[in-house]
Subunit: 422 residues, 2 copies
């Protein structure tokens, strides 16, 4: 089954938002073994949308259209799809009732245009919208399946995952199983990684190997297809072992477990608590950790100290240390990590200090970052990394280096990172 | 001039990344008065890319292709464009020299595939890549202009802004001026906003008015075209005044100045320093503020306190207050804001506490958030908001409510937010 995605909305063509819906839908379809060969974006324009649907119909079995289901005048998707399919629109009574109820409950007047959201394609399968007003719908005609989804991600994502995909998977008659694994690397560049497995990459057929570099991490997605799922899994697992033999020392995790997921899981499993002292990163480390549900089990907290004054007064870094070595030093990073661990009475303290830029600072090049780690047994350590890219890329990379160091520390319970308290 | 964007990369079709390049390019082109009518994404597949370029050629004057310029085997964009244009590829010597130099300097061996990055379309205008290896290029043929750009955003963005757009603007012969302004709203829903200006929206021709809702903010983009730039500006300004008359009380800013930019600017201009005490948001507020260059002028720092123990021990919230009212209360929010302001000796303290979810906590519904603000004159205040959406959406919304409250506080120097110290 070959799919393509059409996103409708002038806001996408004006660059006001990115098409993250296409990303989410593609990832879910890939997991279900459905190939996506094209993404398209068109504006709120009936003729151009009609033309795009016609082109898609000639090359794809499943056409997913997001957006344009709302109440306003420029929402034209259902009308255009009906025109393409030569069918009519009718009210979905369950959706209409829910819309009317919403306005009753909130005590606001229901404007007439809101009713339009309950219109659906004649004879389509309707997906009730549990997080908004406009329902989704699926209709097959002449060998092509059309799926219309609302564009707000909060509405589209649960509808796709909980309602649409189970429905589509029930309908599938093919016996084609796909299995896929993602290997995650840190500390090695994409070109370097690829050149080390060049022979494997050039011979790939089944499984296929797709490299991707993003924000300083590199991933390899290994995908195999077979009529038997067990066979597909075995093909993937064998390839993972072959690649691990070559570059396993840089592979820190698999599948959805990126650096953040992995360190969160490790802290939870080992019953370790952590506190952060952040200068350069400004709270990004603790905020990232806090973004995972259940973070309160291991995140004690953190202190963001942006000035030397605050490093002394709030964090308790000794004045003479700051005078002798400055805030951009191993000594300061180690003191920050130790102080924050003690203040929060946590197992681990981590710190980030350095020059985010733009511009160098007192002769220290932009992008120089010191990361300190302190653990309860009185061991403290630090390391320096030099990062490139814009201000926020450097902040993100710094946080990732910190997470990677913590993973190594916890998994190996030692490693080059940890030295005696200085 | 009508443009369309083709992004090449199987990672996009697999949903591993979002097509943020198309967003960035579209926004910059819109500013330059170039209409973008289509986005396309195709995989690393020569036939499908060729077909997509052929379709684009029939409907667009400018075709921008991102990606597929790299060193690996699946990078096929230049080869495919050359095939479409029936032209050859040759080495750009400046790029080739820079690539060779890079490997010399870093002391790593240059693999043969890296040389491929210096190949460019015959007779094209070459844009040197100051942040990577593969150059960009522009070539016109039979009334269509082809622009090839590298896909890493760190390379593409500065190349587009600093090299390509100045070049294109120099070439433009049309006398068509476009002026555009964005009005930014908070505290009003999209449907509510639209219904209040429905008559204006339905009559729009020039200027056009494009509404957009994102992360709890709503924007209206007002765009006018004219042969005279002054005339276009005047059309836009008049419409802004008309809309302000209706819904001006919800409009907090214009153009690039979103809530974060606006509060940062205000703090800088007024010489005010700020510190944050964050429970629910886990450092997201301070991290957001720190993401703006120059944040050290006004961000004193912040304390993330995830447990009651830390709220007492690190932040100094009184134990009896926590016992009497609990961590999820106005009293706790106000104490947190006051304590952090005092600790950092800053002009303003802001705090966030509440239930991020998933799930309710001790009968307090998920999404209930208390925000406290304390200012140097001893005035402290707080308010409660109830937020919907997933964990991170709630955290982001909470931070935005805090920023909006601070903007009101600073701009009005009073307002309903501020009451006497309790």
């Amino acid at each position: 089954m070959n799919a393509e995605i059409i996103a409708v909305g002038s806001e996408l063509l004006l660059g006001q938002i990115a098409n993250t819906n296409a990303q989410f839908i593609s990832a879910r379809l890939a997991e279900s073994g459905i190939n996506v060969y094209y993404h398209n974006v068109v504006g709120d324009n009936e003729e151009r949308l009609l033309q795009t649907i016609s082109t898609a119909e000639k090359r794809s079995d499943l056409i997913i259209i997001t957006g344009g289901l709302g109440p306003t005048k420029d929402d034209l998707t259902k009308e255009t799809a009906a025109r393409h399919l030569s069918c009519s629109l009718s009210y979905d009574m369950e959706s209409l009732k829910a819309i009317e109820q919403y306005f009753l409950q909130t005590g606001t007047e229901m404007t007439e245009n809101n009713k339009k959201q309950a219109l659906v394609l004649e004879d389509s399968t309707v997906f009730f919208n549990f997080h908004g007003m406009a329902p989704g719908m699926l209709k097959s005609a002449e060998g092509t399946t059309y799926l219309l989804l609302p564009s707000p991600p909060r509405e589209m994502k649960p509808m796709l995952v909980n309602q649409v995909l189970p429905y589509i998977n029930d309908q599938k008659t093919e016996n084609n199983s796909i299995h896929s694994r993602v290997m995650r690397f840190f500390g090695i560049g994409e070109a370097d990684l690829e050149s080390r497995i060049e022979d494997i990459l050039s011979e790939q057929t089944n499984p296929t190997i797709a490299p991707l570099a993003e924000d300083g991490e590199v991933t390899l997605r290994i995908t195999a297809g077979s009529s038997d799922l067990k066979e597909a899994e075995s093909l993937v697992n064998h390839m993972v072992t072959v690649i691990e033999d070559r570059v396993g020392q840089y592979c820190y995790g698999y599948d959805q477990n990126n650096l953040l997921q992995k360190i969160s899981l490790l802290l939870e499993q080992k019953g370790l608590s952590i506190a952060s002292a952040e200068s350069l990163t400004g709270g990004l480390f603790s905020s990232e950790i806090a973004s995972i549900p259940g973070a309160s089990h291991y995140l004690s907290g953190g202190i963001t100290v942006y000035s030397n004054k605050a490093k002394q007064a709030v964090l308790g870094v000794p004045e003479d240390l700051l005078e002798q070595y400055g805030a951009f030093s191993c000594e300061c990073a180690e003191s920050m990590a130790q102080q924050v661990r003690i203040k929060f009475d946590s197992h681990i303290g981590i710190s980030f200090t350095g020059v985010a830029g733009p511009g160098d600072y007192n002769g220290i090049p932009e992008g120089t970052v010191w990361i300190g780690v302190s653990v309860k047994e009185g061991i403290v350590s630090s390391f320096k990394v030099t990062l490139k890219g814009d201000r926020n890329f450097k902040r993100i990379r710094a946080v990732k280096h910190g997470m990677y160091a913590l993973i190594q520390l916890i998994e190996k319970n030692a490693g080059p990172l940890v030295k005696q308290d200085s």
